[in-house]
């Protein structure tokens, strides 16, 4: 049973019960939370205090400042002050679009939500999508075009790019012209690239993104002769094997995959069936965290393991499912002694037993051979056409040599490139370090960059044009399954700028072509229906263009090529350390590094904020003599980077993970500057995102190790080892459905039970489907105007997020199980905070909310002291006063912006509840469905919200499940937030999971 609280722990200090942990337990706030900011002594503080009291007294004597009201000049049908509206648009990331609904108040977008009609969203929105709205208002975005150092306007830049001026430089046929784009699936970009190709037949377009899925495309070109993209139907899969693939959080289609995966994991009754997930990975990913079985292996060892799985499956299913040549290529020359033999045999048997209802998915960074093995496994298991289908890759020129950056760099160095136009991306920062891309840029006489910021790439380019944010621009995009959608602007450009399409039109000699007109011209021929205006409006309104999903392709295997690729096996397995470069769950590839929300969002696994760290297992750290916080020098074939070490339980041994996107250098992005270490310095061209490594401890002058404090929130807000996180295996649950029953039901109490009529709001959170992806945390931050406090603030324990996700480990330190638990105000019916507030600033509403009244709060913090869940946050400083004018525009007008000295916490999105009640009051109907921001964003629908008296609602149904429990039930707080204990589905035939040996 998992009810033994001692089995659950959150960090190493806690697992080992160190003195540091015992001291931290005894504190209400982490050490330093109440400390004064630096440079302020106690005396000067008292002096300031006196002065501010005196000033406050004087301030009251003056008349209130008069406000002005500025009505519109003419009626604006699209904007009614006081009314939020939603518009459909889409955001492109990693080349693929995700459909969104953007809430807009009086013409300013304030919140991003998923579009339920879009196949990549289904109503959910991820961390990146929701964070991107703050980027729109970033005061550090570039504001003006320039040529050389001199600021200029668009006409001058357009003239520079016009055929008349460009032809003398690049030649009549464009021999010297190169375009560098990010991988794109936009029909408009494809069309305009085609037109540029007609105008300059010898010009070439190149595509680069550090997270490009090149290996996957190479594999499908080898297997099928063309770039196909596999699409998975997790809804039909009973058994899933992820080979170093973080499909629940790290792929362009992850929101959709997470929804489908969770639908098979959400069991209403103990008799329900549930899927099973196996993960082989070097680090510890979000997907690995929810896995039923996780095998820790170096990234380089994934391939031999995958081969072993394929051999095992073939042995069971019979060799006939694959041609003999291929089957022998898989098995040839493999050592008889395979590590983890028992694990792999059990896995192969499980896969074979569920043939046709399984999925094998390979990670983007794994070499093409691993992708090929995944294709073969899916074919051998009969999954193709059932759980796996193929479409032509929607990305332009996928798998073609134009996705190869070194070819472009070589041409630039050779002097063949006379003019280079760079569209978005930041290649100067994110290119492999050994290419010396800066030198190559210097060899090109004319370089033009279209970007959001005056970043590293902008500095290397002679001409700069500010780009439009997608919320200001007209464009289009394609989802992973080929569904096209339009991008429509929510507001006029804040700082001016151009889109990709407009810059391409300038190359064609149309400097005045607007993106809107270009887009309409393209879609006029493609939208079905006789009435273009009607079809256009419908496409804008729905956010998807109906009937554009790509058709399935029956893959035609080229067995000969497959065999030869598989025979080209890597050198035998070498012992030694490797580094693994990871997409970051917060700043992606570095493009969101200037986004304070995302910098302060705790990483789903490490709970690190503001920066990255070298993640390594405790065993590897002990072997290297590294302790947590030591600065280490990572050296990969002469490329080095210095970064702080972070000991992560469950991380693979002999592997060091480093997240990409940090360590931004000089540029216009002041928030990002100097935060973390730049992992791209370890990226080699032609090499994968992992490889051999030497680690040495950085030492200062005296020989003492250099250290850095990492801002991790994992040890803040401790819960003293009580049974708070609960989980059981599926067969335990079936044997004893009421295993959590001791933690629910009424507790004897002196306090009156609350009145129960009308709406009675409550929430249920399903720990079986929570992946910890943290989309809810960003949703809450955006919806409720939560400020950021900065790295020092987090180090001092002052983070403000109302909703945190506690990440618990269970079991041994080397390969623990992981359980995620969103923790927010529990809205206790008998709330301890309410009894101790001396000014009645926190009270209970008749509909079951624990209310927080900011204007009454005097900041005693008694409530936080008395809160057993530690979910109250205190405004130690006036964080909202320091933000830029543009950043104020993102604030939700329906929620108070709190000032200094005020306590705050989750309100159950009371603004949404009251809005719904008011709407119902006007219509004279019952309150319609209310959805909280966290619930709305959740890709797996782990959060359910509603009224206890609304019988027949999802909430009431889920609260009746036997695995429901209340956190800290024995205190008798009767929380309105209740949890459904996590359920795992381990394979009974599996030997002990241990990636170590």
């Amino acid at each position: 049973m998992t009810n033994d609280p001692r089995r659950w722990w959150r960090d190493l200090d806690e697992a080992l019960d160190t003195p540091e942990f015992r001291e931290a337990l005894a504190r209400e706030f982490p050490a330093g939370a109440a400390a004064l900011p630096e440079g302020l002594t106690r005396r000067s503080f008292v002096r300031l205090l006196g002065a501010s009291i005196a000033l406050a007294g004087i301030g009251g004597c003056f008349e209130r400042p008069r406000e002005r009201i500025l009505p519109y000049v003419s009626d604006q049908p699209e904007s009614t002050p006081g009314l939020g509206r939603h518009y459909a648009t889409s955001m492109t990331l990693g080349g693929y679009a995700t459909g969104l609904l953007v809430e807009s108040h009086a013409g300013r977008p304030t919140k991003i939500e998923g579009n339920p009609d879009h196949p990549a969203s289904l109503g959910a929105a991820g961390v990146y999508e929701q964070g991107s709205i703050l980027q729109l208002y970033d005061p550090q975005r570039a504001r003006g075009a320039r040529i050389g150092r001199a600021g200029t306007g668009w006409p001058d830049v357009a003239a520079l790019l016009s055929p008349e001026r460009l032809e003398p430089v690049v030649g009549r046929r464009g021999t010297g012209l190169r375009l560098l784009l990010e991988p794109s699936a936009s029909p408009l970009v494809a069309e305009l690239l085609g037109r540029v190709g007609e105008r300059y037949p010898e010009a070439q377009a190149h595509f680069y993104s550090p997270l490009d899925s090149r290996e996957s495309d190479h594999a499908s070109v080898a297997a099928f002769g063309r770039a196909l993209r596999p699409l998975y139907s997790f809804r039909s899969a009973d058994v899933v094997l992820a080979l170093d693939a973080d499909f629940l959080a790290g792929l362009p289609f992850s929101l959709r995959y997470a929804r489908d995966f969770a639908d098979r994991r959400r069991i209403a009754a103990p008799t329900d069936a549930m899927n099973r997930l196996y993960v082989v990975e070097p680090g510890l990913s979000v997907t690995g965290g929810i896995a039923d079985h996780r095998l820790r292996a170096r990234a380089v060892d994934v391939e031999p393991l995958a081969r072993a799985v394929l051999r095992g499956v073939l042995a069971i299913r019979g060799g006939h499912v694959l041609p003999p040549a291929v089957a022998s290529a898989v098995g040839d020359g493999e050592p008889a002694e395979t590590p983890h033999r028992g694990w792999i045999e059990a896995l192969a048997r499980d896969l074979a037993a569920h043939a046709g209802r399984t999925i094998v998915i390979a990670g983007e960074r794994q070499p093409a051979r691993v992708h090929l093995i995944a294709h073969l496994l899916n074919a051998a298991l009969g999954n193709v056409g059932r759980t796996v289908r193929y479409i032509d890759a929607p990305i332009l020129e996928a798998g073609a040599p134009s996705h190869d950056l070194p070819a472009l760099i070589a041409a630039m160095r050779g002097g063949a490139v006379r003019a280079l136009v760079v569209f978005d991306g930041n290649p100067l920062y994110a290119a492999p370090a050994d290419l010396d891309i800066a030198a190559a840029f210097r060899r090109v006489p004319r370089t033009v960059y279209l970007g959001l910021y005056e970043n590293e790439t902008a500095r290397a380019c002679g001409t700069f044009v500010p780009a439009l944010h997608y919320l200001e621009a007209w464009a289009d995009g394609c989802a992973c399954d080929g569904t096209a959608s339009l991008v429509q602007p929510l507001l006029a450009p804040l700082y001016g700028g151009k889109t990709e399409a407009e810059l391409m039109a300038a190359l064609l000699g149309q400097p005045d072509a607007a993106a809107h007109a270009l887009l309409q011209d393209l879609w006029r021929g493609r939208l079905t229906g006789s009435d273009f205006a009607g079809a256009w409006d419908e496409a804008l309104q729905r956010g998807v263009i109906a009937g554009t999903a790509a058709p399935d392709v029956a893959p035609a295997w080229r067995w000969g090529d497959v065999g030869s690729v598989l025979e080209d096996r890597p050198a035998a397995r070498e012992a030694g350390l490797e580094v693994v470069l990871d997409q970051d769950a917060r700043v992606y590839d570095g493009r969101f590094a200037n986004n304070p929300w995302l910098q302060e969002l705790p990483d789903p696994i490490t709970k690190l904020t503001w920066g990255n760290a070298a993640l390594l297992s405790p065993a590897t750290a002990a072997h290297l003599g590294v302790t947590a916080g030591d600065l280490v020098d990572l050296n990969r074939g002469g490329l080095t980077v210095r970064v702080a070490a972070f000991l992560l339980p469950g991380h693979g041994d002999d592997s060091v993970s480093l997240r990409l996107g940090y360590g931004r250098g000089q540029g216009g992005e002041a928030v990002a500057e100097g935060v973390g270490a730049n992992a791209y310095r370890l990226l080699e061209s032609g090499m994968s995102h992992f490889g051999g490594l030497v680690v040495s401890i950085a030492r200062g002058a005296g020989g003492a190790p250099l250290r850095e404090r990492l801002a991790s929130t994992q040890s803040h807000w401790r819960l003293e080892g009580r049974p708070i996180a609960m989980r059981a295996a599926l067969d335990e649950y079936r044997r004893n459905p009421a295993f959590a029953a001791s933690e629910n039901g009424r507790v004897l109490s002196l306090y009156e039970p609350p009145a129960g009529g009308g709406d009675q709001w409550a929430m249920v959170i399903d720990l079986a489907t929570c992946t910890g992806c943290s989309a809810c945390v960003v949703a809450c931050q955006a919806e409720n105007n939560i400020p950021v406090v900065g790295k020092q603030g987090v180090l001092d324990g002052r983070e403000m997020q109302w909703l945190r996700i506690d990440r618990y480990f269970e079991g041994n330190i080397e390969n623990p199980a992981v359980l995620m638990q969103p923790m927010l105000c529990q809205h206790c019916e008998k709330a301890p905070c309410e009894y101790v507030c001396p000014v009645s600033a926190t009270l209970h509403s008749p509909d079951g909310l624990n209310e927080m009244v900011y204007n009454r709060c005097i900041g005693t913090r008694f409530c936080s002291n008395n809160c057993p869940y530690k979910v109250r946050r205190f405004n130690w400083f006036d964080y909202n006063a320091e933000i830029a004018e543009t950043e104020r525009m993102v604030k939700n007008p329906d929620v108070t912006v709190r000032g200094r000295g005020v306590m705050e916490k989750c309100t159950f999105c009371v603004q949404r509840i009251r809005e719904a009640q008011i709407a119902a009051g006007i219509e004279g109907a019952a309150t319609r469905e209310v959805r909280t921001a966290c619930q709305q964003a959740c890709p797996t629908r782990a959060i359910t919200f509603g009224s206890l008296n609304d019988t027949g609602s999802d909430l009431v149904r889920r609260r009746a499940e036997p695995r429901r429990y209340a956190a800290l039930h024995e205190l008798g707080t009767e929380p309105r937030v209740q949890y459904l204990a996590g359920i795992t589905n381990p394979n009974p035939a599996m030997p002990n999971d241990d990636g170590g040996e």
């Binding site: 008069r66 500025l70 009505p71 009626d75 002050p81 006081g82 008749p846 209310e851 009244v853 108070t896």
Partner: protein, 216 residues
């Protein structure tokens, strides 16, 4: 030994103590009274407006309904101030050229809004919703006073929290039939003690005094 202090110093000390005590009690009490006076609440204040718009002419004289200009009052939290273009249909025919109308002409010509001064201001942490109030039978007049008699709009109510609660604790004392919401000077033919509870039942009005009714 002669006394160190004269006899009169006793009186001085008593007097001083008395003043200190009176101040300690009186200053808080007086300040609490002071903040409730119109001087602080702004009740009866009527800031000068860019155009001397006279509600008497428009409401009493021309019988224009409140909602012609304050058009979003039934749908959104804000009653809404009319766009400049709302003035145009009538004022392209009458009072078109006078100097008083210059700000309207300027606004139309430049596309810049008319900068009205806010009269009824609530703190930013108060979320008042017009729509629900007019749908539940709270008349415009109940909070805004006899606007039809105002040459220049003034703040009729103190807009303090206790003033809000006066009604929120017993809404049946103030509500009227929904059809009469915009009527100025409406008088019920039946006593409010009978009509109020009946309307409250019909409209589903109850006393809402929990904090998040207004503070979010």
């Amino acid at each position: 030994m002669p006394s160190l202090f004269s006899r009169s110093s006793n009186r001085t000390i008593r007097l001083t103590l008395g003043i200190v005590l009176a101040a300690a009690v009186g200053i808080p009490i007086l300040s609490m009274i002071w903040v409730r006076t119109p001087a602080v609440t702004g009740q009866h204040s009527s800031p000068p407006q860019p155009i001397p718009f006279d509600h008497r002419i428009h409401v009493t004289g021309l019988q224009i309904d409140c909602r012609y200009c304050h058009s979003s009052v039934e749908h959104t939290a804000n009653a809404g101030l009319p766009a400049t273009s709302v003035c145009v249909p009538c004022h392209s025919q009458v009072w078109r050229d006078g100097p008083l109308f210059a700000p309207v002409r300027r606004s139309l010509a430049t596309g810049r809004p008319i900068p009205w001064q806010r009269v009824n201001a609530l703190p930013d942490y108060v979320y008042f919703n017009h729509a629900i109030h007019v749908h539940k039978g709270v008349g415009c007049e109940t909070c805004h006073g006899r606007v039809d008699r105002m040459a220049r709009v003034e703040q009729a109510a103190p807009l303090t929290m206790s003033w809000c609660l006066d009604c929120h604790r017993g809404p049946e004392r103030q509500i009227r039939p929904v059809e009469q919401v915009t009527t100025m000077g409406w008088r019920s033919s039946r006593p409010q003690a009978v009509l109020g509870p009946e309307l409250a039942r019909r409209y589903g009005v109850s006393a809402l005094t929990h904090c998040t009714t207004c503070h979010r």
